[in-house]
Amino acid sequence: MIDFLYLISAICFIYGLKMLSHPKTARNGNIIASLGMLIAIIATVSLGTNLDLKMIGIAMLIGAIIGGFFATKVEMTQMPQLVAIFNGFGGGASALVASSEFLKYGADSSMFLIISITLSVLVGTLTLTGSFIAFGKLQGLISTKPITFPGQQIFNALLAITMFTAAYFIPTYGINAFYIIVILSGLLGILLVIPIGGADMPVVISLLNSYSGIAAAMTGFVLVNSQPSAGNALIICGSLVGASGMILTQIMCKGMNRSLANVIFGAVGGEVEASSGEGKEVNIKSYSTEEAAMIFDAAEKIIVVPGYGLAVAQAQHAVREVAEFLEDKGKTVLYAIHPVAGRMPGHMNVLLAEANISYEQLKDLDEINPEFEDCDVAIVLGANDVVNPAARSDQNSPIYGMPILNVDKARTVIINKRTMNTGFAGVQNELFGYENSIMVFGDAKDMLIKLLSDLKEL
């Protein structure tokens, strides 16, 4: 009976995820997936034996209140932080389940059980601590610059080796060896995330997302002997999530033309600093919003290029107001979304959706790049590296080979930045000095509000 119910819930998850392939069906897909979870929980509670229902109920209530509170309160700009921390709780839960299973059998556990418990605790704990560091970085509690020290990678490798040695000695030393595994896994999670810079966060969050799934799958392997039905359910769901996170990780890496190893061990930002000195002189033209308004007034086709700066300035609603004004005058407005714009996959899409911008106007890299050729104005809001033409032409640039949005092909490029600071990769953007480039300095939101009032006065 319980196998059958778990099967139904697995079908709900798969079908729900499948419905996420289109914005029209996505919301129902999520509801179906949540029903799948409800079935799994009810089946477990009602068919389990010797359960202390009162205690479980209290724990579930506490979790539901905390989760529900954050889910309703969070700002859309803070979504990366929220997903990071939820990943962490998922990984933590898996590690705890595996730990309690270890306490049941202790040193008498079979070889297979020891291996799966070790992997489950390793991935789960690492996800928990790594996610908290990622949260800290995204929330600005910890420096978003890569934090490195000499010999970091060797140190991490030693930690991992020590940990597996401890796992090997579980049959001899039991719980003490187990404690070492827990502590070292937690430390490893911290050390793997601190050297990663702010702009690489999309990769890290995707990876932690994948880990939270892998941890659940490993916990499934832990449970499969004593609780075969529950074990299989965890394996199925964990694998789905693990695969999903892996795909997103790959997409993010491709969006930066970097390998996963390079993101994790490269600590970009620190290492690139040296090359930033040779940056070419760029002569920029700085315009006021009034002058920019006149350019917009003469334009027919406008492409908006949002970046992390837009999220920081919370400028999504201001963008929509300007775009609506221009559309009412019969102009076409499209949005160009780079895969790694923002701090997590799809970050910009969610922000713009929040501002009521139709998802049909949001175009990805391949769709939008041919559009720049006959575009009158491309406006870049708080993006930098993703529009740097050096990625196409300059083999010495650290971002060479990264797919970029070809904004320079537009008749006029208006770039809004707060200051002339270099982008995350530490390179000066030669785009700013181009013949057809115009800089409008200021906070994205303030700039757009001023632009709108100037447009209205024309």
Partner: protein, 89 residues
């Protein structure tokens, strides 16, 4: 442990790859938060862990239920909140 478990694992990974590659970039954030909620399936392991004899094991299960439930409820709710916003003109 037998070959069935490994079979389930490998097939599930394949199913995951197949369905997730079809999700458009626009929905990548809700995909993450939604799939994240699904990884909260650890909750069923957590519920069963509360029956482990001895206090520590039981309390680990108790905390695991809280963690997993944060993940499940928070994940599905925030995904719904986001997906509600995806509209056409």
């Amino acid at each position: 442990m037998d070959i069935t478990t490994i079979t389930i694992f490998i097939l599930a990974v394949f199913v995951g790859f197949e369905i997730i590659t079809k999700v458009p970039p626009t929905l990548h954030t809700p995909l993450m938060s939604g799939s994240n909620a699904i990884s909260g399936i650890a909750i069923i392991g957590a519920i069963l862990a509360t029956t482990v004899q001895g206090n520590i094991g039981m309390w680990l299960g108790f905390i695991a239920v809280i963690f997993a439930m944060i993940n499940v409820v928070g994940g599905f709710m925030v995904t719904d909140r986001m997906l509600k916003m995806f509209k056409r003109k």
